[in-house]
Amino acid sequence: MSDTLEKISIIISKGSLDGIYPGLIMANGARAEGIEVNLFFTFFGLDAIHAKRHEHIKIATVGNPGLHMATWAGGIPGVSSIMTHYMEHKMGDLDIPPIPEFLEMISDTGAGMYACKASVDLFGLQKSDFIPTVTDIITVGEFYEMAAGGQILFT
């Protein structure tokens, strides 16, 4: 086996801020290393490429022990927005781009972006619901064909 990674396929399956960013950061970082990248958005991860939703991705404040706050406090209306705003501010300081800009940048690096057909059908979506940088809607089988010969990362 080669000790260099030539290709990676990253699956983004969650629709929260903390569910989407890690996959995007790994994708962008892989392209910076010259590694071929394909992003596959499935289930709630589709929100990341949904033209009307991807500007409003929130951090989950309920059932998220990493935030170290009481579950009941996380459920108060507005808390999720406040925490999201706080997180975005912190990320802005580190020059981590907002999700829409980050996706555009990752597309500019030459990474492929695909929506999962099963999830697209499940949510009653179509290609026009997604941002233009989405290359195609593909099946699981097509994903595996595309991922062949590389590594797969599920997030």
Partner: protein
């Protein structure tokens, strides 16, 4: 750590090909170092990015990441990947004789 000869000058490089001492680098090395990265010939646009990498390195102590390059070098992210398909910041740093830029974005 190993040594390599660029032109007639022997330079010290890391195992992944980055200059250990950026002062050992000079302008005349660009065509040969670029060729080693599969870039032949190095165009004015390549050289623009390479020089920018060096300026940033000496100003800030670290070479810029692709994100920073795209925002500040005057060359877009898309063009950067066209110029350096194997990773703009990484490859340009190797040609520019500076250490690998550190940064996750």
């Amino acid at each position: 750590m190993t040594t390599t000869t660029v032109g007639t000058i022997e330079v010290e490089v890391t195992d992944d090909g980055f200059f250990v001492d950026p002062e050992q680098w000079n302008d005349d090395m660009i065509p040969e170092l670029a060729r080693r990265e599969g870039i032949d010939p190095a165009t004015d646009d390549h050289v623009k990015v390479i020089r920018f990498m060096r300026t940033e390195y000496f100003d800030k102590g670290t070479g810029p990441t692709v994100r920073v390059l795209g925002k500040t070098s005057g060359v877009s992210v898309k063009e950067l990947y066209q110029l350096f398909p194997k990773g703009p910041a990484k490859v340009a740093a190797r040609i520019a004789g500076i250490p690998k830029p550190r940064g996750c974005i």
